[in-house]
Symmetry: D2
Subunit: 332 residues, 4 copies
């Protein structure tokens, strides 16, 4: 089968990772172009990987079978529309947009063009979380009753990032909203959220929260709880637990290695993995296999509709905190 | 030091356990009497343990230094009042009462009499949960931000029990409410509860829930989440996790033994302990040491005020479910 | 069923534990007498437990259904012979003797008298190690190929104890020799041992080793390795691993509680249990049930023949170290 | 820094892996040539990776800065000599040779040429085993007293492979011999080995063993035990445990993911990794960083002298089994 000629738009931290993976580690794909509004960045990455540096988005979208949108969030919708108009299949980093109207505009353009667009909820491809989903999907957990998601970052981002992030629910919890829909296999009908500023007062001054708990009800009766913190000093804490009539499936944290030390002071294990690009590297790679498959079949596994659904949950959570009440999803 | 002459009132399942422990395994105590409204039960236990069978509560309260109230919940207040009037220190199984007014009557009688009364929130004495509390109290966890309590029974009690239990929040979650207050070291100010009937429709028909999630805010800013189920097919699931600025302390489940089996089918561990009297046996024993100490010092570690506080949280949770809103504790 | 009237001979550390267990925690037994050459010790224990203090061994052996020999090792044979002559069933702490000829004398006396004698290899009754044996016995492990036993004490005994202990192989490894025979269900045919003095030179000056590795071949082809140390600073390290055609069963160490702490410094677990009377408490209790059953049935599960077999392995290991060669068991 | 132009000799399973890694995932290296006596294999790999297919060893050794010898064992010495004569630094898969005289010939040629040669004991670069070594090297373990290495393959290789493998000690245990020297940081002085045919009689008929236990004494007093099996049905069992005066460091097995399942049947974990190229992938990658560093500095971390030392231990183990006695290393 011929390889998909692929362009990467945006070569910041995440785009650079995707470009490296596409160049070296993904089967069925040939990285052919990179583009960035910062020309030097594109030149550096293109030179290192030996691929063409596109001078414009239009040029990047020419003669390619796939485009990876890895630019800043505020540009996603315009680039999705451009790709749709050019008829080029897309991998797009999450989120589509922090705005529901703009998200709908992207959804419509994609539907009109009929191109496959895979939205980058990479955690679905993590082998551990996926094993939880498979245990639900395959019946081991039985009827799902409770779903618990813990997602805590090792440390907060800069305040400048916080200010444009859309807030903890749309920026950080959004992954957990998607995970809840993915594992439960059932839409959420109601969201109750609780938040606090405990990590850094400056986060509160920027209008955001750094500590949050969300409780959701799904159509199928599952109750999901999510807890988030912007700072877990011991590492990147990522766990999913599905509980039901047949039992429990739970993904535990990943550690740097398997060695334990036992001394008079006690027994200690290896440090928890800290960096998300390391912790989730297998998911980013596995996601590419799904993207390639989705382009070939025309049916991507994760879509902009999934992105829209997660955004709605983020907005509902925000409203729940503001108004101090449970918020139904059909309010949106 | 002379041993505390002790009477046990009520020799059902839990009273029988306490009588055995008092007779054989608790230092500083001499079991001298047992009493039960079912005379045969008292005779059987008294005979086996070689102690006097009291013919009445009044007789049981005579010439003793300590009385253990292990009867059914609806008799606790009257017996507490009787003991208070007799000036006999008390160990009382939780709860004091399912009714706030009656609880207050007991609180007042005890205060008037000035007797030490230890309320049986035994889980505080579990070595694993206690280690979580100690990690909070000792500063390892730093400022407490999130507290997660999982408490799932291996299987539901009979419907006849459910009907008089006071409901899941006052019967089952009440232990978790106490745990939250104990670990956080801070009072709860607001309760939001969510419930469902997922395990058995008959529980719903009896007016109760079998699956519940509670979110609470404490005075010190901690957010606690509790999840409960009446049926965890894999065993008695009892975990507490405290998360804060300094890190995380988490108690994990206890297993029957430490042996793992690795075959072509995978690696499996020993079954989780199923029965609460077995899982919490060390806590029941350790609690007795605290009771003895509390009687000697006149200052019990766990009091009827703790029982009242947990009852209020249970009532608040019930109201939250009924009214679909966060409920402030000062509404009670 | 009537309770077995039981006398305890020797109320040092281990005898005192057995007396307490017999008085309070073992069903089917009534502790009726204690005896010790140090009369004060017997008086203290007898007084505390409310049982008769025998003035002599002969008196202790009168009107009892069971005698527990918990005295120092050098007295075991004479007491076994005395009990045999008195026709009293026996529980005897291991070892029978450090001398093979004297052991045989006890074996003969017991056979002549036809009394049941249970030898105290308590570790067979540890739930974790027993689960390993059951996995072998029940077929989960398949054909047993490799057996690994780790047994390391938290710290060395006093040199005065070392001097009369019979050496590491007869004093400490003897438990592991019995475990190997128990788990493998097959006799040992050859022993190769390696030893060193690494913990304390004074142990070497006393003529003993403090670090040892033993490799054994069983009749059924299993190869067992044992490693011992007199000092594991992190606790009492007790593990058994059985490996075969069907898989592996492994008992892991026991910890004080189940709580883990995760901080910036890493994740640590609860301390390992240090004290053998604590670590093996469940085995001592469970062993008593087996003793009672053995007295009733006349067929003890663990016999002086097992004690003799373990002693032979200890002697073979010593000879292997001295002569620097594999030693066949049939040399003895 | 300019990249090292690298040729890969031999593109069977392991050579192909190295070629892929060199082409895509190793920094500081440019794969420029591949060679194989089977021209089609070289053509396929060269074509896929876009590099030159050398027509001969001589051509492969021209204009390169590094050559990776990944051919069959019997060709290693000749290729090492050829590379030495060509003055090309080498990465060579282990073992150098199964013959001590031929090994010495390679050692001499390399010494004469003064080229850096890194021998592929990749397990030294496994993060888990390395953490054990670091705990010894850094003092956490204190004085090393016992070292335990478990190495069990998921299944035996074909009998045809067994027949030319040099036997279990030179083919499989050789990795453990190197690990023992690496972790202990001290040479072995005596080897006692025990073996059996338990997995497959055909292995015995081919003159080999499939189950083995080796005990070794090091110069510094450490006693190492190694156990091997050609078949662990549960996966690839790779563990190292270092025990000393300060405590214990132990590397545990690696699993496919971190998810556990708890049902009425018990709790099970993810399968153990089965395939060595997967289990040790991080070590192969990390080893390449060390190779590049060794070429640049002229001082490789793992040398043919290490290969020779491990071979001697393999030969000593074989002799120990044959002659039924401990064998001193200085017999060789």
């Amino acid at each position: 089968m011929t390889e998909l000629r692929t362009a990467v738009l945006g070569v910041g931290r995440i785009g650079r990772m995707h470009a490296d993976y596409l160049a070296h580690r993904v089967e069925g794909v040939e990285l052919t172009k990179v583009y960035d509004v910062f020309a030097e960045a594109a030149t550096e990455v293109g030179g290192r990987l030996g691929v063409q540096v596109a001078g414009s988005v239009a040029e990047a979208l020419t003669d390619v079978d796939l485009v990876a949108i890895c630019t800043s969030t505020d540009t996603h919708v315009d680039l999705l529309v451009a790709a749709a108009e050019a008829g080029v299949p897309v991998f797009c980093e999450k989120p589509v947009s922090l705005d529901l109207g703009r998200t709908d505009r992207a959804v419509a353009a994609i539907a009109d063009a009929g191109i496959p667009v895979h939205l980058g909820f990479n955690r679905r491809y993590d082998p551990s979380h996926r094993a939880v989903r498979d245990a639900v999907d395959g019946g081991t957990v039985g009827d799902l009753e409770l779903l618990r998601i813990t997602s805590r970052d090792p440390g907060p981002p800069p305040i400048s990032y916080i200010e444009t992030s859309g807030g903890i629910f749309c920026d950080m919890t959004v992954h957990d909203f998607d995970m809840a829909r993915y594992v439960a296999g059932s839409e959420v009908v109601e969201v109750t959220a609780h938040g606090a500023v405990r990590v850094d007062p400056a986060i509160g001054e920027a209008g955001d929260l750094d500590t949050a708990v969300v409780v959701m009800r799904h159509e199928n009766g599952t109750i999901t709880t999510i807890d988030n913190s912007r700072r877990a000093v011991y590492g990147y804490d990522q766990r999913v637990e599905a509980f039901g009539s047949g039992g429990m499936a739970a993904s535990h944290n990943h550690h740097d290695h398997s060695t334990s030390l036992s001394t008079a002071a006690g027994t200690s294990t290896a440090p928890m993995q800290h960096f998300f690009l390391e912790r989730y590297a297998p998911s980013y790679l596995s996601q590419w296999d799904a993207v390639v498959e989705g382009v070939r079949s025309g049916t991507p596994e994760v879509t902009v509709a999934d992105g829209r659904a997660a955004l709605v949950l983020g907005l509902a959570a925000g409203r729940s905190v503001t108004e101090g009440r449970p918020v139904r999803v059909d309010e949106f």
